[in-house]
Subunit: 144 residues, 2 copies
Amino acid sequence: MAEDARAGHRFVTSGEMQVEELPWGPHEWLCRPGLTDARHLQLVRVRMPAGTGHAFHRHPSLEEVIYVVEGRAEQWVARQSRALGPGDIAHIPAGEVHATYNAGDTTLVFLAILSPAASEGPAVVDVSQEEPWASLRALPGGPR
Amino acid sequence: MAEDARAGHRFVTSGEMQVEELPWGPHEWLCRPGLTDARHLQLVRVRMPAGTGHAFHRHPSLEEVIYVVEGRAEQWVARQSRALGPGDIAHIPAGEVHATYNAGDTTLVFLAILSPAASEGPAVVDVSQEEPWASLRALPGGPR
């Protein structure tokens, strides 16, 4: 289906979502330009297998909310870590470094909500090999 | 707790959310100014009892995504209606009239995601008593 064939569409179900395979699990896109008329909102559901994670990164011009649907997350925002379960959220201001790891034995399912719908410059910058992020999880306050 | 006591907070769980009682069910606020440092994103989880709904309304300056968590929704966006189940979404551009009804026998749980985090003018305008909205659900294509 052409990228803009769905312009004007108001409903997205499992048959219409766009799936992107990434090393930390399939990303099921439910709202973004080309799929809806999104201008302010992007929504993607991530199914993160046990034992995997999305290491420290930042979105220079996108604000984000993580909403846990199923499973258990070890969620980092800057140097703070918190165990999140179903119904819990993390709020990540634009530019702030963050990471999400599956802290359980089952698939972690979460929503990543991003705004605005398009960003100038790179959407994601990986900082997982830079300090202090490279060694942060090995410190006290790291994985529980 | 003072409105701005949580400024700088990055995590919101069931113990920290702000609950607002409305005729179509409790609204569990998870992200908005005063609760997080939200600038672009608002997130509220609505628990809509069977037999209730949020009649036709619009948000003049807010874009919205509805994400169904549990139950069955009769979701309207302008003159289109669709039955939505868990994991399905509706996208509502700013200013577009929409409505959500619980179409099942159990509580409908959905997320309302709004952007930006603050709006100029009224956040919501009720149009449920105006035509064509007042009689739309009684027409063919109405509730199934």
